[in-house]
């Protein structure tokens, strides 16, 4: 009797929360709806959620075959996000391996030092980093942007936490077999760290894909642009064509939605990791 009453309450909360979640997602639903409409129907009120006249394919063509080279931006984004992800994984895991499994004088000091660098906000170093890229002749290049996105103390920290939980016996056994430090890192540590590497990699990919500030400041040539800058171009060039702008926005989000739906456990776990450390 008691339990059925509780279940009933739970059902009511579920229904209410379901309604709240739909309300919460209205901007995204509106985007999908607008992306499949004729421009003249986008702003009609009351909102027609189902397009009276479908224009999905025409809007799709307008985005992908426009004079703005959207597919090139897409390729740039994929390329940059993948390279930055791999580089971050390598450098962060190397540092984490050094900070957990190799014994040397000054190790804990170096860790404290690295942590203290975390108080420097990237936003406060925009001007000198811009000058640095100019002097290195890497301003307005993908290489420069990659250089800016290769190192992360935050991810080093997460990887270190994970590696501290790996037993030293694995390493001792490999040493007895004559393995060097690099072999131990590459052949033993990295495979053991697969779950955390996957988590960190996905999050880094998403962040790189969504980065707006970096490309905005460090890139000027249009053929180097990434997706967020592409969406901005559409906003400037098609100021009064919301249907096309919504299609471009949808295209910017869809790869992330797919990654997220397929790997939601990894993504959610990765985000939550940052919070649990306290």
């Amino acid at each position: 009797m008691n339990s059925t009453r509780i279940q009933y309450g739970k059902l009511v909360t579920t229904v209410i929360m379901g309604a709240v979640s739909v309300l919460f997602l209205i901007p995204l639903l509106w985007m999908i709806s607008a992306a499949s409409k004729l421009e003249k129907d986008v702003m009609t009120y009351p909102i027609q959620w189902i397009p009276p006249e479908w224009n999905l394919i025409e809007n799709f063509k307008a985005v992908w075959l426009a004079k703005v080279p959207f597919s090139l931006f897409y390729w740039n984004s994929v390329k940059l996000a993948v390279i930055m992800m791999v580089a971050t994984l390598i450098f962060s895991s190397m540092a984490a391996y050094s900070l957990t499994k190799l014994q040397y004088k000054g190790r804990s000091f170096m860790f404290a030092l690295l942590l203290s660098f975390m108080i420097i906000p990237q936003e406060a170093t925009l001007v000198p980093r811009y000058l640095l890229l100019k002097w290195l002749h890497l301003y307005n290049t993908h290489a420069g942007l990659i250089l800016m996105g290769m190192f992360s103390i935050y991810f080093t920290f997460l990887l270190r936490q994970f590696m501290m939980g790996i037993h030293n016996e694995f390493i001792e056994a490999a040493k007895i077999d004559g393995a060097g430090h690099f072999t131990i890192y590459w052949k033993i540590m990295l495979p053991l760290c697969k779950p955390i590497l996957a988590t960190v990699g996905i999050i880094k990919f998403i962040w790189s894909w969504n980065d707006y500030q970096g490309p905005l400041i460090f890139l000027i040539k249009q053929n180097l642009y990434t997706i967020p800058l592409g969406v901005q171009l559409f906003r400037n060039d098609y100021a009064d064509n919301y249907a096309v702008l919504m299609m471009a926005s949808l295209a910017a989000i869809i790869p992330l939605l797919i990654i997220f739906i397929v790997l939601q456990k990894q993504v959610i776990k990765g985000i939550a990791l940052g919070g649990v450390k306290g």
């Binding site: 702003m43 450098f91 540092a95 108080i119 406060a124 925009l126 001007v127 400041i217 919070g275 306290g278």
Partner: protein, 314 residues
């Protein structure tokens, strides 16, 4: 005989070398080698830049003439900040933004996560639904909101007009509302992140506590205030810190949607850095603003580290 001696010397010097590169020295060498890229990267792209920007903040430089045209001007840039209305505006906007985004966001996320954690069916649907905006490109979401907030035809204002409000705000195009429109979007977009962190914190609270409490006859409201809220303390303070700091660094939505306007009504510190540094090319002045930002964020970080250490000791 002599040959043997030479060989012996060679052997001993060789073994001496080997002894020098013994296991622990080798391990130390590898330790530094593995740490080096990250360390050099952080020093080159974070520590050197912040130090260099301190130097630049005492200089006047428009970039065009090359390094030789850097002029040392002492505290002029900082003095100029005191008379700069745009700077005051950005500082004020950063504070308004923080004062609204931090508490409102955390409060909404707390309610949401408590409900989703234990009081609904289909938990994973709700996690995904509320989390989607956070992983989506903020620029794409900004584009959607720019349509929703459209002053005359946008659905939000059409809705308000249908409610009988004859003259609704122009939102992003309105000096009185642009910042608040940004704040609404920001709270909406970050809610999923805060919810996920809270849910992680909630799942660390043992169920037995609630069982014991309900046996003792505690209502669910009492349980919330006596168990959930106190045990979520560390999670809440973590969220408080991260949200506080990210709200002083807000840039993307503002640069994309309003460019700090209209009439600087939505400008913030980082947008001022962008404007002075990369549009007006006043490198010294932009560096001075950067250091104000660094001091604010740095002090907040140090303060919260201190507080955290205290709470973890007690």
């Amino acid at each position: 005989m002599a040959k043997n001696e030479v060989n012996a010397v060679r052997a001993s010097s060789f073994s001496g070398k080997r002894r020098y590169w013994n296991n622990s020295r080798k391990e130390a060498l590898f330790g530094w080698l593995f740490l080096a890229p990250e360390l050099i990267g952080m020093i080159g792209l974070s520590v050197f830049p912040i130090v260099f920007s301190l130097y630049l903040s005492f200089c006047e430089w428009n970039l065009v003439g090359g390094l030789s045209t850097i002029q040392f001007v002492g505290l002029d840039n900082f003095a100029a900040l005191f008379h700069d209305d745009k700077f005051y505006m950005s500082l004020k906007n950063n504070f308004i933004y923080t004062l609204l985004v931090v508490p409102v966001g955390i409060f909404l996320a707390l309610i949401l996560s408590v409900l989703i954690h234990s009081r609904v069916y289909g938990q994973s649907y709700f996690k995904v639904a509320f989390f989607i905006p956070y992983i989506s490109s903020i620029i794409a979401l900004g584009a959607v909101w720019s349509a929703l907030f459209h002053p005359s035809q946008g659905p939000i204002n059409q809705f308000l007009i249908s409610l009988g409000i004859s003259d609704p705000p122009k939102w992003l195009a309105d000096t009185h509302y642009s910042l608040y429109a940004i704040i609404i979007i920001a709270i909406w977009a970050a809610l999923g992140y805060q919810m996920i962190i809270f849910i992680a914190g909630l799942s660390n609270i043992p169920d037995e506590l609630y069982e014991a409490a309900s046996i003792d006859g505690a209502t669910s409201v009492q349980q919330f205030f006596k168990i959930t809220l106190p045990l979520l303390g560390p999670t809440t303070s973590f969220l408080f810190i991260t949200t506080l700091m990210s709200s002083f660094k807000v840039f993307d939505l503002i640069a994309f949607l309003t460019a700090g306007g209209p009439n600087n009504s939505s400008t913030v510190l980082v947008y001022r850095i962008y404007e002075e540094g990369f549009q007006n090319f006043r490198m010294g002045y932009a560096s001075a603003i950067s250091w104000v930002l660094f001091l604010i964020v740095g002090l907040l970080t140090l303060l919260t580290w201190k507080l955290q250490n205290k709470s973890s000791i007690s």
